[in-house]
Symmetry: C5
Subunit: 355 residues, 5 copies
Amino acid sequence: MSFLKRSKAKQVELSSGVSIQTTASKSEETKIVLWTYDESQLQEQEIQALEEVLPVKDGHKVIWINFDGLSETAVLEQLGQMFDLHLLVLEDVLDANQRPKLEDYDDYLYLVVKMLYYADVQRSQVVVEQVSLIIGSNLVISLQDAGGDVFDPIRRQLRNPGSRLRKAGADYLAYTLLDAIVDHYFVVLDKLAEDIEEIEEELVENPTSQTLETIYNLKRELIFLHKSVWPLREVLYRLTRGESPLFTEQSRIYLRDVYDHAVQVIDLAEIYRELITGMLDIYLSSVSNRLNTIMKVLTIIATIFIPMSFLTSVYGMNFKYMPELEWRWGYLCVWLVLITLSGLMLFYFRKKKWL
Amino acid sequence: MSFLKRSKAKQVELSSGVSIQTTASKSEETKIVLWTYDESQLQEQEIQALEEVLPVKDGHKVIWINFDGLSETAVLEQLGQMFDLHLLVLEDVLDANQRPKLEDYDDYLYLVVKMLYYADVQRSQVVVEQVSLIIGSNLVISLQDAGGDVFDPIRRQLRNPGSRLRKAGADYLAYTLLDAIVDHYFVVLDKLAEDIEEIEEELVENPTSQTLETIYNLKRELIFLHKSVWPLREVLYRLTRGESPLFTEQSRIYLRDVYDHAVQVIDLAEIYRELITGMLDIYLSSVSNRLNTIMKVLTIIATIFIPMSFLTSVYGMNFKYMPELEWRWGYLCVWLVLITLSGLMLFYFRKKKWL
Amino acid sequence: MSFLKRSKAKQVELSSGVSIQTTASKSEETKIVLWTYDESQLQEQEIQALEEVLPVKDGHKVIWINFDGLSETAVLEQLGQMFDLHLLVLEDVLDANQRPKLEDYDDYLYLVVKMLYYADVQRSQVVVEQVSLIIGSNLVISLQDAGGDVFDPIRRQLRNPGSRLRKAGADYLAYTLLDAIVDHYFVVLDKLAEDIEEIEEELVENPTSQTLETIYNLKRELIFLHKSVWPLREVLYRLTRGESPLFTEQSRIYLRDVYDHAVQVIDLAEIYRELITGMLDIYLSSVSNRLNTIMKVLTIIATIFIPMSFLTSVYGMNFKYMPELEWRWGYLCVWLVLITLSGLMLFYFRKKKWL
Amino acid sequence: MSFLKRSKAKQVELSSGVSIQTTASKSEETKIVLWTYDESQLQEQEIQALEEVLPVKDGHKVIWINFDGLSETAVLEQLGQMFDLHLLVLEDVLDANQRPKLEDYDDYLYLVVKMLYYADVQRSQVVVEQVSLIIGSNLVISLQDAGGDVFDPIRRQLRNPGSRLRKAGADYLAYTLLDAIVDHYFVVLDKLAEDIEEIEEELVENPTSQTLETIYNLKRELIFLHKSVWPLREVLYRLTRGESPLFTEQSRIYLRDVYDHAVQVIDLAEIYRELITGMLDIYLSSVSNRLNTIMKVLTIIATIFIPMSFLTSVYGMNFKYMPELEWRWGYLCVWLVLITLSGLMLFYFRKKKWL
Amino acid sequence: MSFLKRSKAKQVELSSGVSIQTTASKSEETKIVLWTYDESQLQEQEIQALEEVLPVKDGHKVIWINFDGLSETAVLEQLGQMFDLHLLVLEDVLDANQRPKLEDYDDYLYLVVKMLYYADVQRSQVVVEQVSLIIGSNLVISLQDAGGDVFDPIRRQLRNPGSRLRKAGADYLAYTLLDAIVDHYFVVLDKLAEDIEEIEEELVENPTSQTLETIYNLKRELIFLHKSVWPLREVLYRLTRGESPLFTEQSRIYLRDVYDHAVQVIDLAEIYRELITGMLDIYLSSVSNRLNTIMKVLTIIATIFIPMSFLTSVYGMNFKYMPELEWRWGYLCVWLVLITLSGLMLFYFRKKKWL
């Protein structure tokens, strides 16, 4: 989950002569899927040229156009002309370094959202992708750079003729897309919660410098996650407030639900961050604690043996006249003194609770 | 008190074909108790089927339906149809991972609150449970997943014909339920206060790494408690502001009282958190302090005996020509030097206040 | 100043059958003093029964009823009936665990304030007491649990016929009571400032673990003080905003003054807290600094004597063939080497600025 | 710059019998300077009695009365009566423990501002003084306790007939006074910036416990400075918002400039505080770093020499049968072993990057 | 990037007699470039005297006057008179110590922005420059003290007759200038991100006290960057809100884009700051960790060899009667004891996971 560096942008010239920045990966091909449906009918087709949209454009069915891959700038330009989109919308679609935001162009809404999902089953790598949503009166256009998304359950729902989605309008489809994206944040959060619990155990049992690095990485991910979801919360709040007539009263009730989930994500992210901050303090304290333990061992050993070694070295001196050396029980006496001495020391340390 | 992991949800299909998520524990049976009362009469019965509610549904008495156990989704669906509840309400009732919230569906209010109580007398384990309240004009429906709640005093009040509760409407009943829930937070807070006082004493007398763990756990519990009560505060604030006509002016004065209590809970939780943060600093400082004490002992011992050992080892050398060794009073002189030396050292340490 | 634990509440049944919670100390007797005054007349009497208030109740004089001791619940109930007070007001009067707050019951205002004063001359123990004020159109009722208050200057002013207090209405009396309470916070703050200055000196001169405990205690007191005054600020703000017609424009100008003082108390409390946080950092740093000093001493001693001891122990070996031992000047050479060695060490340490 | 203790207040009785608090230093005499001017004329005179103001009081010229020294309470009382000032204004003028504030008494504005300037050229001691401004329709009264202020450039401007100040009204004069006060904050800030740069260098080169104390003192000064300017910002904001008709649209544009400066002061103070917080962390880290260096030296010395000393002490034993002692090359072998051993140790330490 | 010290100001007298402060560098010459253009025509000329502006001043073309160097105060005064600018605007233009701000003088807007760019290719030194923008109905005046700016792409666009810039009005030109400035912040941020990544690696591999200094410097730069961009955000917000009629609805949509970028800059700066704070904690922890490692080595060595040395020194004593010395296998026994002892110690340390 690397948010640290912004995607590199390249300059691209539109056919109209205007040049804009794009971060789209050149390798990906643009794949366009067109869905048109109402309660009774559903058409799902991958289209090669945008002209195929024209026949259904002004009908009464709901239209969902899903773009995977943004490298074919010409197609996007054509899209812009076909649906009369502002040039800035096209620029933002092509720039993956956006914050989540909502822009109201009267005829249509433009939303930028960050999609998070795991690319693999081991959930070791989070993929962060920017999704642009353009929402018109009976139209939803969703655009993203790379393939792979979290919309499969929605596709299944669409194919089911009895589903609520088929009965409702484009605004409900937009809600469903947002809902799917926000709900996937919980998958990432659940993985983080697992990691936190693991570290909490490690902290108690056996903290290592590896633990420290993991803590830092978790903190990092949470900072980014928080910054991603926070602006989304406001976007959803504005939608639920009914700023735009494109969302019916009925759909706004559902949006309120997505909004609640986004707030929950923020709440959890904040809780996790506070826990991690607490862990760092605990880590530091327990490192200090262990230093104390180490130093106690050293001090006990040194304090017991250094004075005793001194005593023996006294009687290792080679003076001619050292009366004790001649005594019959001298050696025994020294041993008695040494044993008494170390006994006293041990008693002292036990009293100080160092042992 | 584990808020860290969200409850696992399962997919359940309603008879209408819509499928929703539920976190209800399958094992619990749904137990429904129906109360209908006015000033003069009270009826309290455990019902087996929701149809038993129909006869009293449109009367003038206050109705309180209390659900324990949410595993029988069909019954909930029936409830939804009977009282014309929004599908999202049912979804939220079944999802235990909600934040406390208030939703106004004109005809009725939907509230989510977290209930905290101790499952055992030793107060070692806090149970956190989500309670959903649906409040209509003369109706209160309360739903929770597991049995066990904090409503027993309310039941006693209801059975007392002279009580204020019997004279008032459904909004006053809703107030009483909220009041009982919020008042139980203080029980948890009182336990935390006791723990904090215990640790404060330990910190002064004999801090161990066990203390550290307790501090971390307290911090954790307070983070969760704060996050649980904070949104509740807003819910209550909106109710007291008179957003909904379902609460009379009279009842809102009482709600203001619950609101005050919620604010108090937050205040106390914040005070406790700041205290705990302060404790961590104290802990770290006192660990460092003890390290200083340990190192002083080591340094004093080493500084006194290492030079003395050096001196004796000088006279332990086996050089042929060491005039001192031949002296009559050499050995005595060495002792005098050693005693003077250690005396000076002790004096130096006393001056430095290390002793 | 112990705010940590909430006062224990007992259940008390009113004559009306309603049972409420009380934290009033049973031992204290209720002492009621009734003041009635206008510009020309003043009557001050301790009354035994509330009926004595009736004759003056609806006159044009200002009435001040001061309760010391809240154990006689029956009297309070009678008071509630006489002045038509809401039951919740009585409950709040009896519950000492309130936050400062203002409640507007149209006919009268209900205020809860915390009073802080020193019980003894040495100012070693702060007494915290909850004062309830009920303010009517020409009536002020003040209630507190224990005797002892900060109102003596007000009583003297009242007895002085020329004072502004005698000319003004009940709202001005209420202002004077609030002013007296808030001004007494400064006495506590001044004591804290003295303590802080003492610790600042200790920190520089000779920090001990006692200092650490004092810092923690100061921090604790400031947390509580801040939490006590913060809600009071809002209470006063709302009064100055003219929310209630019971306070005249004229009195509100005076209330603005009390409000300014409350803000000042908060400002000072925040400054003190930041200072104390800074002190903790300094303490930790200076403990680390002293550890460095200790370790330097140890290292210098060890680094000088351990190599020298090694050298002497070499010549303490008993090998048959050790040519140096036979040399005429061997012993002298060893001394020269030892002195040079220690000289070099000392030079090295001086260069490293350890000496 | 000592804000920690509040100035001691004494009780003073006004001739009207009202007694108020004053913190004015008794020693200072009250010096009153009266300026009256319009575009064509300027009169500047030190007056002995307030009666001298009467002749010009109701003319069309701008009047500026500047008080130095507030000990003569009688004169202030007279001033209050002459210009019909509220008693609370007089009380606040006399109490040096005010926060900066703005009070609107319809006919006049009352402002409290803190003036900061250096009493000496070495800029070692900041003087903090409270200035009260009373602003009427063509009147400015400025009051302060001690002599010495930052208004000299304004006096020079006034004496210059062509200056903008002479052409404008009393509101412009008030602006000029505020501007002079706020601009002088930058002098204090510049000194702090110099101190910070000095410490930054010290931190890198040679941090001592003296550095620590300086850091704490800087932090302290910045806390106080911030608390002084913060409320001033709001005062100025309210003035620029046009709350009072006493300031013309034209003057408010100038006030906006002062407001900008106040915000800049706050910005800089916040930047400095954050830098200082960062410094403390660096200090702690570098103290720990130096401890590591010290311990490395000790460990290297001990780890090299303790095993070698052990070896030599083995051959210092006096056993009868120690074959090595008899060997021809025993002594040489020991030296070889010792040299190899220390060589290995040194290699090990170099590999661990301790050397 | 030194924001710490404010630029030194000098007093300059205008021809009107008013004296103002200037921070303009005397050395730089004032270079004025005049652009006048509409869709069909473009004129670009360096002018020597402001009089050359007069002919085009009231035409319908868009005028852009770009000042490099502000030392010629007389020219600025002339500019002020020609376009009827407020004296405060001239003062602010000349004072490089401004916060970014927006001032609305009805006829024109005055904006202060900070421009950041790298003076060299190695991006080692950030240049911070204050740019003043005066925006009239078909006029943009941009002023800065030093040459070198980020406007070259805009100049190229202007020379291209088909560009949007040529078709739009002065407000769009102003937008383009702001956009160029804000986009250049990302260049600085990208450099910071690189530095942070480098340090993150260093922290794990080999943290030194150099790392610490770099961390502090990064923190410092981010504090300043944040304080520079934060007020800009508000400036842009107010422009997008449509406060001024000088910006058309159409241009405001573009301004919203710049606003989004500014918010992104702030977001990134905050993320970087949090990361750096985390790094400091990690640094401290890992320094402590290394101390533990060092102390473990010392303790292991000391604990193994000190008791063994004691034993050997016992048998180095010269007592007459020490039976062990006479034993045939005494020496061998001692070696066995020594080896067993050290083996036990090593086993103990391995069990404690110190090895």
